[in-house]
Each structure stands twice: as structure tokens, then as C-alpha cells.
Symmetry: C3
Subunit: 270 residues, 3 copies
């Protein structure tokens, strides 16, 4: 695996919130080890311990950063137990996260990704029973990688991630793609994990949420005020919206609500 030269950019995605100084402390630890780091917050408002939501946003965000960026994601219901920390290298990016499925969507998109277990003892990182992993493991490793002070291959042994990807797959038999709501944005729009690529095999798609059915259209402007619609959003996902309203309320949906895309005319993939 040849990986891009580190860009010096580090992103952080956590469920720590911004009320306490946890995120700021992680940045201090990075800057002590690599003073020229440029650190970007992706979000710290992942719902508490919502590993899949974190994985979804990471997958939809990482490619907008310079090649060689180190993406750090820390959302972990298992902290305090014996969770391993993973380091992943794709051809363009590095990822650091707990071994709890957070990287499943990233790994599903790159079969050649190299996965290593971070050797906490070998790297002489702290590892007491009350370790704050973001501060004591992920921040120092991110600084080492982003600053070019350590080779990816030296972080620890090659491993298999404990949890493998589950990604919605189009069923050509009945023209259905099953997914779910993974985020509700500030305007109440429902962002799903159904990728536009899944819909390339058919046309005339309808999106089903609860008892409601809405047609997949091209833009919000195509529908009347107050009406529901579905569209492919700027992240390449099916998104359900209500023009001038809040889809989350109109469709009584929240994170995890099942969503199905249906077409009467599936066609064979070439």
C-alpha cells in the first residue's frame, strides 16, 4: 500500500460535544507533538455512542480533504473495556478509530485498505484503566502520523477489523433498496444512507417512509410549499424534505427510521 504523503491536516469527529474541554485537550496533545498541525472539527455532536451515524458522516466527508489527511473518529460505547484501536490507510487517507464498526463504511469502499491494530504499549502511549482514549491514544498517534514522525507500518500489526461492513444493497429481484435515516439536519431534512449509485440500476424511483410515499425528484423547487419530496443531496444520498417545512416532523421520523426506495423498472447491472 503506497499512501499519500501526510498533508499535515487532522480531522476530528466525536460524540464529546463542545460543552466540556475534551476536544480542546485533544488538540493540545496534538500540538505538543506536532506544532504545525492544522486541525479541523468535522463534528462533535454525534449522538452519544451512535457509531453508525459517525461512520456515515465520516464516509461522506473524508474525500473533501487534502490527500494525506489523518481522519480521527472517536465514538465508543465500549470505552473502559478492552476495545482495540485501529489505524487504516487507503491509497489517499489515514483513519484512526476504535474497532467497533465505525470504519465499516470506509472499508466497504476500498477493498485494498490496510488495517493495523495500534500497538499502545509498543508506541509507549498511556493505557491506564481510566484512559481517555481520544487524548491518550488517538491524539498522539494522529500527531505522529500527520507530522511524518512515524511510518504507518510501525503503528502496529496488520489485523482484521472485528466488525465488517453492512451496507444496503439493491435487490434486483424486486427493485427495492433498503436503508435508514442516518441524520436529521438543521432544517429537519432526513438524510438516508441510500447512495445514488444504488439507484443507477432503475428509474422512476419512489421513496417509502412509514405510510408515506414520495417521488424522487431533482430539486426542492419542483414541489409545492408544504409537500414532501425526495432527492439526491449534495453528498450523493437520498434525502427526504418538505418544501418550507420540517420533514422529520411531517413524517414522524428520526435517526434509525427505515426508508425504502422502490422502482417498477429495475434493470440488470452491466
Amino acid at each position: 500500500m503506497t499512501v499519500s504523503k501526510p498533508s499535515g491536516v487532522i480531522t476530528l469527529l466525536t460524540d464529546f460535544g463542545l460543552t466540556d474541554p475534551f476536544v480542546g485537550i485533544m488538540k493540545g496533545v496534538v500540538l505538543e507533538r506536532f506544532g504545525q498541525a492544522r486541525i479541523v472539527d468535522l463534528t462533535h455532536a454525534i449522538e452519544a455512542q451512535a457509531v453508525d451515524q459517525a461512520g456515515f458522516w465520516l464516509q461522506r466527508s473524508f474525500q473533501w480533504f487534502p490527500p494525506g489527511t489523518v481522519h480521527v473518529a472517536v465514538v465508543d460505547p465500549g470505552v473502559g473495556t478492552a476495545r482495540e484501536a485501529l489505524a487504516v490507510a487507503t491509497s489517499e487517507y489515514y483513519f484512526l478509530a476504535p474497532d467497533n464498526g465505525l470504519l465499516a463504511r470506509v472499508l466497504a469502499g476500498d477493498a485494498r485498505a490496510e488495517v493495523r491494530r495500534i500497538d499502545v504499549a509498543g508506541l509507549r502511549l498511556s493505557a491506564t484503566s481510566t484512559t481517555f482514549h481520544g487524548r491518550d491514544v488517538f491524539a498522539p498517534v494522529a500527531a505522529l502520523l500527520a507530522g511524518g514522525r512515524v511510518e504507518f507500518g510501525s503503528l502496529g500489526p496488520v489485523t482484521q477489523p472485528r466488525i465488517r461492513p453492512e451496507i444496503p444493497v439493491v435487490s434486483l429481484a424486486n427493485g427495492r433498496v433498503e436503508g435508514r435515516v442516518v441524520a436529521v439536519d438543521r432544517f429537519g431534512n432526513l438524510i438516508t444512507d441510500i447512495d445514488e449509485n444504488c439507484l443507477a440500476v432503475g428509474s422512476g424511483w419512489t421513496v417509502v417512509i412509514g405510510d408515506a410515499r414520495v417521488a424522487l425528484r431533482h430539486t426542492y423547487a419542483d414541489v409545492a410549499l408544504g409537500a414532501g419530496t425526495a432527492l439526491i443531496n449534495s453528498f450523493g444520498c437520498v434525502e427526504i424534505a418538505v418544501r418550507g417545512g420540517r420533514a422529520a416532523e411531517v413524517f414522524r421520523a428520526s435517526i434509525g427510521t427505515p426508508v425504502v426506495a422502490e422502482t417498477a423498472s429495475p434493470k440488470a447491472v452491466l
Copy 2:
């Protein structure tokens, strides 16, 4: 128009919130094009689509940054429709924003500002129907400008903004200045858009909000605990406060509530 040399600093002001990774992604796009950018968040908590609130805070903030700073403001109820993107240069700063009135207050303060329409096609920026303008238009242009990779004059043709400023003006006939609440701060203080310069033409001002009348004073400390007062705040605006309390609750006011400053002794402007 001779403009300051770019400072390398970019500010961001949006209504995107910090829950989703939209702001982080904009920063990634900037850093991919201009790795040395120093990016500062002004706020991302503008109320959804509150263009005037965004314009007010931009006007009160921009001058605290180094000359040559690129100020990016994205609040746009019209996204998805055919809104143009504007680039503005004053003698000291650059501004990028949708053509929806957001820059009206900035333009009202500088008659010599140069306004250009960002030529999305000419600059070879993405412009699909599902464009995320912050990421696909404003972030790349900000990087180009702040990094000195493009001249301001090359961003697109000179144009007239679609919406022109409406700013409260003092009426010397009756000694009244009409404004409104534009922000409620964390302490419940009501920040209005009545500028101290408007009040230079009279003395003994009283501020009227709903049924209440409060005298304009010099500091909070001049009044009793629990009493209302008005003062010129550190941004040069009339602010209504309750010492030890929340003015927003006491005066049942919120963003948009009309506020009038009155004086019995207006005098002619020289």
C-alpha cells in the same frame, strides 16, 4: 479599487449549525486549495435563513480582522434556485455571499465597494442542481482569493447587487430613530441595529420597546438590580439590558421586535 494584499485569513459565517459536518467539509475544501489558510468561525448559529441577522453580525465583525481577510457568509433561503453568488472588495476586505441582501449593510458602509458576480462556469467550479454552494462555490473561491491564486477582478463581471441596503435613518423632524432587535445574546440582552452614530444628532435619548421606556445610560452599573436600561454596547449599537436579569424575558422581545430611540432635543447635523 486597490485592495489590501490577502492576509491568508478566511472567516466563515453560516446558518449550518455545528451538528452536521458541513462547516468542517468547507474547511477541507479550502485547505486542499490553500494549505496555509487560517480559518476562523464567526458563527454558524445564525437562525435558519435569517439573512438580515447574518448581515448585521458580519457588519459588526469584519473590521476586527487583519486587512486582506476574506469574509465568507452563507445564509440562503434560495439555495436550489437561481441565486447568484457575489464577491465584494472594499479598500480593506473581501466578502463572498449569496446575492440576497446579506451584504447590504456592508455595502451601505462603503460607497466605493466593487461588486462582482462570481462566474461559476468560468472558474470551472461545480454547479449541479444539488450543489452545496458553501462547499462547491464559496469555499474554493475563498481559497483562491486568500491564497493570492486569483485576482479579485478575475472572479467575474462587475454587477449590481439585487437587493440594496435598508438601514434605519434618523428623522430630524421628530427626533426618532427606528430599528429592531437583531440578536439576543447569551445573557438575554437585546442587541438592536440602531447605531451610535444615529444618536449623535441629539441628546437625552430614551429607548422604547413595546410599552416600556428606558433611558440610555453609560453602563449597567448605573441602574438598580432588576431594572431595565439601554446603553451603547461594545459594537457601537443600542443594547437593552436588565441588570442581573434577562431583558428578552422582561420586555417579551425577540429577534425582529421593533425598537425606537427618541429624543426631545434633536439638533441639525452640520
Copy 3:
């Protein structure tokens, strides 16, 4: 007092929130004076005017930054009155804050710290009656210090802080340490200001909060789901948690709630 060379890093801790652009403006003022500053937000969500909460988090955060970092903390119920601004140098860090007790915990930890009153007039900083001290005093002084443009000793005369530390002290007579809840984290855990060092003089500690008593254990995993526990957290403080639940609700506690640690076997300190 020999202090570390400035690291170029500045941290900010305030009760300004992130809704208004106050924090962004402070950063602009810093960057205008020291363009290479690397500015890190510790938190801006300190409860309004909660000086002690601010002091607690500052004390638990500062040491995770590079030596020579300038830590700026602005939480001040007294703004508008004649509060002085303090500058403190320890052997490794600088601190800037109002003279209202915010630095009490930091000063309690370093008897050799040097305390100076910032000479606002002598440094030619703005000081009108409506001064926004974060912007007009603390940000420029932080930039001067972090950029190495001014010696610490030139900031103003040596002074005594107006408010001296009050820190919970172990009573060997009856084996009790009295403290209080200083923060409630995103998961509802109760963070107290009882330091692990206070508990070194005994064993078999029990933590009392309201009518409840919980044993001090080593990790969350030691107790059953739904049960309460106390542990030393990753900041070296006693923390009260409910495995799989929210301790703040279970124990009806919030910031300020008294907490007592008790041991039946106190022993003499050597």
C-alpha cells in the same frame, strides 16, 4: 521566574457561547497582531458567569498543551465595573484572566507563580466604559505574549490576586473530603472537584451524594447496568456515574451539588 519560551499556542475558555460572533472576533484581534498564532477553543459553554466552573476546567486542561502556551479565560460577572485583569506566569505556562478568583485553582497548584496586573493604559489598550474585555484587553495581550512581542514582566506591576484559592482539603480527623459537582458531562456523569491526591491518605473510600452512597471503584465495567458507581476519571477527579444511565438524573444532582468522600481508615500523611 524563568518561563518557557512562547509556543505560539493560545487557548480560549469563556462563557460567551458560540451563537454570537464574540469568540470569532477575539481570534481576529489575535491574528491581526500575531498572524502565526494557533488558537484552540477549550470551551465557550461555561455556564453564564460560573467562575469556579471555569477555574476547574482550566486547572484540569492547561497541562495538556505545549509549554509556553498562553491560556486565556474570560468569565466575569463584574464586567463594566472596575475589575482588574491579571497575567500569571508559572514555570511552564502563561494565564490571562479577570481578577475574580478564576485563577485560584491554578495558583493553588504553584506557589512560585508570578502574578501581575495588566496595565491597560500603559500598554495603550482601549478601556472605555463599554469595553469588551475579551476583545479589547485579553486578545491583544495574548497575541503580544504568544508572539514574543512583549516580555511578561512588561505587562504591568506585580500584584496580589484579590481572591485566594479555596480548595477542598482532606480532614484526617474524621476521614472526610468535602467537594462538589463542578461539571455534568454529555453522558450525565457528575464530575467533582475532589482530587485523587486527597484520597491517597486512606483506602476503602465511599462517595456520598444526597441520600446515596456509592463505593469508589476502578472502572464502569465493575458494576451492573443501571447501578451507580464512583471512580477516578481520566482528569484525576472523583466522578460519579451510572452504568448505562445518567447519574445527574438518578442522583438528582447538578453543578454545585455537595459531594463527600469518606473513609473508615484515614492514615497520617508522611
